[in-house]
């Protein structure tokens, strides 16, 4: 019999955190990487190392405070006021990144599939499903994503790896032609795409093996790294860095540009869009549950349920706010420092304060 005690195993935690991270970043990686020109792969590699550092830090925090969310240990480390403020800011952060991701989804669906359907309808239909799933709590969500994530990941990875057969590898030469300096900004932009890992600050409390936190976050990084590498090498190898950086959704354009080896399907774009819809729906459900759970802990409620609907509404309103896709992307850029603070700053702060307290008590 399936347990329903709000406890998730390491595999389930990976399904939740991996879906959330991938759902937020999968569509934008090649375009951001292409800004680094031929060295896109180097920028992504450096960004992944930074992502792994974040995974290590977040894992360490989870180990240090088993069965607690950052709302509890944040308040005890920073004091009730600051702790609550940090939790409130994080809720705001998740609302914003989720609304940007949902908006991107809406723009892609409108561009490729439903030109005449109002954006609001596209967004609401996604948010309705995701909100409904989020109400069930972490366990059913984890179980659903345990099925959905591999079902999305494997065909997507296979498709993008297949595009590498026609890649022109000379497009990645010469290496470091203009030095390291032009790589810094793309590396930072890519590193913050590991946003989503910080959900471990909440979901660590639900893990039946808190010590596995680092491993889970590491695997989540690896999943993004695999799909990111396949799409970055595929797009730049086939279309060149200049063209990739000009396109809004290079991974989708790539599927129309290359002839996949031994594939009888004429239009793979539709298949990948369907997979991506499943991924983004899963990620949105996780995000809404994350926001609901944090708010519940903040207000001392037991369940996250009552917060899901307001959170869904807030994400919807934020998502339709940008006038067009360039403004949505400006939001994304504005969130970069915020994300960096959440991914690296916050766990370091928690670890330092925890270390000092342990020193004092000793």
């Amino acid at each position: 019999m399936l347990r329903d005690d709000d406890q998730i195993g390491p595999g389930q935690a990976l399904a939740v955190i991996g879906t959330f991270t991938l759902g937020l970043n999968a569509a934008v990686l090649p375009r951001l990487a292409a800004r680094a020109g031929a060295d896109a792969w180097l920028a992504f590699l450096a960004a992944t190392l930074a992502g792994m550092a974040a995974a290590l830090l977040l894992g360490a925090v989870t180990r240090r405070f088993p069965n607690q969310t950052f709302v509890e240990y944040g308040s005890s480390l920073l004091g009730p006021f600051l702790g609550r403020l940090v939790a409130g800011l994080l809720v705001l952060f998740w609302l914003l990144i989720l609304s940007v991701a949902v908006r991107q989804f809406g723009d892609i669906v409108k561009l490729y599939l439903l030109q005449r359907t109002p954006l609001e309808v596209v967004l609401l239909s996604l948010l309705f499903v995701a909100g409904y799933a989020a109400r069930g709590g972490i366990e059913p969500l984890a179980r659903a994503n345990q099925i959905a994530l591999p079902a999305v990941m494997l065909p997507a990875l296979a498709t993008f790896l297949a595009t590498l057969f026609s890649a022109d590898w000379t497009r990645f030469l010469p290496v470091l032609d203009k030095g390291v300096a032009p790589l810094l900004r793309p590396t930072l932009d890519l590193a913050v795409q590991y946003a989503g890992l910080e959900s471990l600050l909440v979901y660590g409390a639900f893990m039946d093996q808190p010590r596995a936190g680092t491993r889970v976050a590491f695997w989540a990084v690896l999943l993004t790294f695999l799909l990111g590498t396949a799409t970055i090498l595929g797009t730049i190898g086939n279309m060149g860095a200049t063209e990739t950086s000009r396109l809004l959704w290079p991974s989708l354009a790539l599927l129309g540009a290359v002839q996949l080896p031994s594939l009888f399907l004429e239009r793979v774009t539709g298949v990948i869009l369907a997979l991506w819809t499943a991924l983004i729906a899963g990620a949105t459900a996780v995000g809404l549950n994350l926001i609901g759970t944090t708010l519940a802990r903040l207000s001392g409620q037991r369940g996250a349920r009552i917060y899901i609907f307001p959170a869904t509404l807030a994400v919807f309103l934020l998502a339709i706010l940008p006038i067009n896709v360039t403004q949505a992307m400006a939001w994304m850029r504005a969130l970069v420092p915020f994300t960096a603070a959440v991914l690296w700053g916050l766990p370091i702060l928690f670890l330092l304060l925890a270390g000092r307290r342990r020193g004092k008590s000793a």
């Binding site: 439903l114 309808v121 000379t170 010469p174 129309g256 290359v258």
Partner: protein, 382 residues
């Protein structure tokens, strides 16, 4: 009890709402009401910055009747299988919308088989018309682009003898150019990057008359516009350098001028570069394997030595065609074989010093070619 009724009502409404959403009703489009565009041709118009767009829209009913009909018929005069419609304007989307005032079906560009660009427009520059194709995700990046010698519009007006539609005819012709080896096959997605980077490249050259079209040779695109042409032989040389050559090669053998024909199965080309004094030297080495398909010489090829002599004659022919291609490209000042990129990759430091005057330097770059041909099969007779 009341709660149960409410829940049941809610569920029913929900299911009804969801099933309504499943139809995607805003975007409902009956396939019979679509005007499928199979071919697009863009020409320069008489006004400076204005274009002429020609679309081929098949009469789908014509095909349905032909499929179901079979024998009999007669009496009814055969109608044109497609409507070829043109319009002018300063932007392609504008022309499409103008054409919509004449064509009663909503255009759908997802099935465009071929994109033809007229000579004059190509001379003016390709980049201005590319934005339409880049911004519209309907059009597949895997659509071949052809440069018409003369007007592109004429290519869509060809009444081919074996196909009903000019677009399908041109598309299959383009696919067969891999076998013929006298014109490159280049897809839309492959040229957008080079166009934005102002790099030089080749596109197939299309010549058309009333009843047929021919793909022969290549258009040389320099800095985004047409600079000149390569002959079919020169194009073959360029394809050897790019390692994309497939098709056949003929070479004169012996003093009497008999011909041997060789069918290329594989080509590997390797380019390397060095700097001699202040000028770059490009070394091209080509290895090819294939089948001997014809020899007009009367002597039978019974010894390895006789085959070897053929191989050497063919290798010399490859070298000649490659040199001719390079000379023509140098005369046009178009680095379509990517020598600049090669120098950039292999000698980044030196490249930085010389890249600003690369276009002059390219004309005087020395090129050495060496080829090895291996005849693996000789057919059914000596």
């Amino acid at each position: 009890m009341r709660r149960g009724i409410c829940a049941a009502l809610f569920t029913t409404l929900l299911l009804a709402g969801l099933s309504a959403a499943l139809t995607g009703c805003w975007d409902l489009e009956e396939i019979s009401e679509q005007g499928m565009v199979l071919g697009a041709a863009v020409d320069a118009d008489r006004q400076p910055r204005s274009f002429r767009l020609t679309l081929e829209i098949p009469r789908v009913s014509e095909f349905a009747a032909a499929g179901g009909g079979g024998g009999g018929g007669g009496g009814r005069a055969p109608e044109k299988p497609a409507w070829v419609v043109s319009g002018q304007g300063t932007a392609l989307y504008d022309i499409v919308r103008q054409l919509q005032t004449r064509v009663n079906r909503r255009f759908f560009l997802g099935h465009v088989r071929v994109l033809v660009i007229g000579e004059e427009l190509a001379r003016r520059g390709l980049l201005p018309v590319m934005d339409f194709f880049e911004r519209n995700p309907q059009l597949a990046y895997r659509t071949p682009v052809l440069i018409a010698a003369g007007k592109a519009e004429d290519a869509l007006k060809v009444r081919p003898r074996l196909e009903k539609l000019a677009s399908t005819y041109l598309r299959t012709l383009s696919d067969k150019s891999r076998v013929a080896g006298r014109a490159p096959q280049v897809m839309l997605g492959e040229i957008l990057g080079p166009l934005h980077e102002r790099k030089d490249f080749l596109l197939p050259r299309l010549v058309s008359s009333e009843k047929e079209a021919q793909l022969s040779g290549a258009a040389v695109i320099r800095g985004g516009s047409l600079a000149g042409w390569l002959s079919p032989g020169q194009t073959r040389g360029a394809l050897f350098v790019e390692g994309k050559m497939a098709g056949e090669l003929e070479a004169a053998i012996g003093p009497a001028g008999q011909t041997a024909v060789y069918d290329v199965s594989t080509v590997h080309s390797k380019l390397s570069s060095t700097w001699v004094g202040g000028t770059p030297l490009i070394r091209i080495s080509i290895r090819s394997e294939g089948t001997l398909t014809e020899s007009t010489a009367t002597a039978a090829l019974r010894t390895p030595g006789s085959i070897l002599r053929l191989e050497q004659a063919l290798a010399r022919q490859i070298n000649r065609e490659v040199r001719q291609a390079v000379e023509q490209l140098q005369a046009l000042g178009a680095d379509a074989l990517g020598f600049g990129d090669l120098l950039h990759r292999q000698h980044p430091a030196q490249w930085k010093k010389t890249q600003t005057r690369w276009h002059e330097l390219f004309r005087s770059t020395s090129v050495e070619v060496s080829s090895v041909v291996r005849i693996r099969r000789i057919g059914a007779s000596f």
